[in-house]
């Protein structure tokens, strides 16, 4: 097989992996601070995908333009959900939290089914079928835009946590919950902010993913699982780890599909997960439990 095929597939895997990484970033942020495992993560992303589909089909608004407004709406939904429902479960046993999040996931899927039906719906932008030819390489334009947008959103999120007072306070909550309470931080509000940010992240990922994949109500669970694989591989709670995990899984699946058989490409993603759990249980960039 010619070399450019390998390069094309590798580039495609990395670009897709960056979008996956942004999706997983939301999960990692929420777990890293609130310590609640969001089993409704993929379903929340599906909600954002449908928002993009509706805005495109009714008003002709390009998903990339609507990225920020949809992320803002998802932030508000996440904030309200955390403040109104999930906050009461933060101190409860993990099994209860799992059940709550799974219940939310089931409700979201069924509400989407009632509203939109089971058929796939997508958006066809003017650049949906564009690709860039760089020498012998062909780069999917949509994937490139989505990957760049993922990097921008991730950079903004990193900057927020690193350079703002609220971001620092949230990191304080994550490091020491009791200490945060002692110094007078409004932990409940900060948790809700964090959940909102995580939901906004996955919302942004959903808006970009709808450029690559059609939305169906049942699409969520597969992406929830994928997000878990990525954050466990990259390191649960590590933002850089989530992006790295996304790229690693995207690249591994693409190359495995090319070198072995495409029908087994998911298997290689799981194989990476098993290897990480065996040799570095905290994930590639995760911190070991003390």
């Amino acid at each position: 097989m010619p070399l450019e095929i390998y390069l094309n597939v590798a580039i495609s895997g990395i670009l897709t992996g960056l979008v996956y990484g942004l999706m997983a970033l939301g999960l990692s942020v929420i777990f890293g601070v609130v310590r609640v495992v969001n089993f409704a993560h993929g379903e929340m992303m599906t909600v954002a995908m449908y928002m993009a589909v509706v805005l495109f089909s009714t008003l002709g608004l390009d998903p990339l333009i609507m990225l920020v407004p949809i992320a803002a709406v998802m932030f508000a939904l996440g904030y309200i959900l955390q403040k109104g429902v999930i906050n009461a479960f933060v101190t409860r046993p993990e099994s209860t939290q799992f059940l709550l999040m799974i219940a939310i996931a089931i409700i979201l899927v069924n509400v989407l089914l009632i509203i939109f039906g089971p058929d796939a719906q997508g958006v066809q932008t003017s650049y949906s079928y564009d690709s860039y030819a760089v020498g012998p390489l062909i780069i999917d334009a949509t994937k490139a835009y989505a990957a760049v947008a993922s990097l921008v959103v991730a950079a903004v999120l990193f900057a927020f946590f690193r350079f703002t007072r609220t971001g620092t306070a949230i990191r304080g909550c994550a490091d020491n919950h009791t200490g945060a309470l002692v110094v007078g931080l409004d932990v409940s509000h900060l948790y809700a902010l964090t959940f909102g940010l995580g939901t906004a992240c996955v919302g942004a990922a959903g808006v970009m993913l709808v450029l690559l994949v059609d939305a169906t109500p049942a699409i969520g669970p597969a992406y929830t699982l994928l997000a878990f694989i990525i954050v466990i591989t990259g390191g649960l709670g590590s933002m850089a780890g989530a992006l790295l995990g996304g790229v690693l899984i995207g690249l591994t699946e693409a190359m495995a599909g090319l070198l072995f058989t495409p029908s087994a490409k998911s298997m290689f993603g799981f194989a990476i997960l098993v290897l990480v759990l065996l040799f570095r249980p905290q994930g590639i960039l995760g911190k070991a439990a003390r």
Partner: protein
């Protein structure tokens, strides 16, 4: 001694005494015991047809599409002079177990003939129930060959089996090659790796050997039907540098595959599909001009038959946005068989109805082939595939010649030149 004559009864007819009552009751009991289930109904009312389809679950879309064939059947059958059908709707929920229990319930509720169920597994389950209860079952769509190889007496199928579908597909391909002068030398084969795709892949290997095909399959690429990205698969197929793309897919992956073909700037000479997806309405609507030119080899309708435009017009009236397809054609024809046999049997008695179905000889039908007639196994061995090509958002039949209404376009118009 004078015997007293019996007093005349007050009403008309003989007076019922204790002795005559006991004799009548005994006779009734004996006759009931001898023939407890032989309930013969004269053709006084509508035939109760239990239509069992996957109306929910993962096959819901297809089940609901089949229902369109049911919805438009009534007036057409009436115009053809057939007796009324009373439709009883059942949902398999896309589950084999539910299909079985629904069939039992429908028979319990009075269904006199069953129709269904699109899926081979579900149809097999219903066939077992129909056979056990002695109620005729007319399969609308199901391709697994073994359903009509079990020696069933009450099961009939007006749909080709998988080997028939494949055999016709290759025969139609040869006809198209002859017609267009095309002689592709290589093909790359992409297929889903589910039960259907794997079975078709095996079948293609076995059946293609019997045909003198000009092309050789240079690479076979299996993929997960639930995949969200086919970029690797298409890159691999493109690298094979084959003349034609042979596919067995579903709807969503057919759309994904086309998008990748466009993005990766590869237009093969032809896309030859031996499964669903490429001719479906959603494919045509989603992709617009990019949906043109693939050729699908599927059980189809003969546009030159008298009844075809009637069915097409009825569907267009009821569902203006929907193109007529396999689901509508064969579900309608299953009801046609039921109505025709009921008319000839003159009764809804299961045995009489079954005999009448077995003797079916409908030449004024819709699907390709000589008509609807069943062999000793209950299979319509004459039903044929058609080769259909997407053209400007519509579907035209390009083979077999007897059922064609257009010439095949070969090679495909390059994706980059479609405006």
């Amino acid at each position: 001694m004078n015997r007293k004559s019996p007093k005349p009864s007050a009403g008309i007819g003989p007076r019922i005494t204790r002795r005559t009552f006991a004799a009548s009751a005994g006779a009734l009991a004996i006759s009931a015991g001898v023939a407890p289930f032989n309930i013969v109904r004269a053709q006084s009312g509508a035939l109760k047809v239990g239509v069992i389809l996957p109306r929910s679950g993962y096959l819901a879309g297809i089940g609901q599409d089949c229902q369109r064939g049911v919805d438009i059947a009534g007036p057409i059958l009436k115009d053809l002079g057939y007796p009324d059908l009373e439709i009883m709707n059942g949902d398999t929920e896309s589950s084999v177990d539910t299909a079985r229990s629904r069939a039992e319930k429908m028979i319990g509720d009075g269904a006199q003939v069953l129709v269904g169920a699109f899926d081979s597994g579900e149809s097999s389950a219903i066939a077992q129930v129909a056979e056990q209860k002695g109620i005729p079952f007319i399969i609308n769509i199901a391709a697994a060959p073994d359903i009509t190889e079990q020696g069933y007496k009450f099961v009939f199928r007006n749909f080709p089996t998988a080997p028939m579908i494949l055999g016709d597909a290759f025969a139609n391909q040869l006809e198209i090659f002859g017609m267009t002068g095309a002689a592709p030398k290589t093909a790359v084969f992409l297929h889903v790796n589910d039960t259907f795709g794997t079975a078709m892949a095996k079948g293609i290997g076995a059946v293609s050997a019997k045909f003198d095909l000009p092309y050789k399959i240079v690479d076979e690429i299996a993929y997960d039907p639930a995949t969200k990205d086919l970029s690797v698969e298409v890159a691999k197929a493109k690298a094979a540098n084959a003349d034609v793309l042979l596919v067995v897919s579903r709807l969503n992956d057919a759309i994904l595959m086309t998008r990748e073909l466009v993005k990766q700037r590869w237009t093969p000479q032809a896309i030859l599909s031996m499964g669903p997806g490429w001719y479906e309405d959603q494919y045509l609507k989603t992709l617009g001009k990019l949906s043109d030119d693939p050729i699908s080899f599927v059980p189809w309708y003969d546009p030159n038959k008298k009844l075809s435009p009637v069915l097409e017009a009825a569907l267009a009236k009821a569902y203006p946005e929907v193109n007529m397809n396999t689901n509508h054609i064969f579900t309608f024809e299953a009801l046609l068989v039921a109505a025709d046999s009921y008319k000839r049997a003159g009764s809804a008695d299961a045995a009489a109805l079954t005999d009448a179905i077995r003797a079916t000889n409908i030449t004024d039908n819709v699907s390709i082939g000589p008509g609807i007639m069943f062999n000793e196994k209950g299979q319509n061995a004459g039903v044929k595939d058609g080769a259909i090509q997407n053209r400007d958002g519509k579907l035209v039949t390009v083979a077999p010649k007897a059922a064609a209404n257009a010439d095949a376009v070969w090679p495909m118009t390059p994706y980059g030149e479609r405006g």
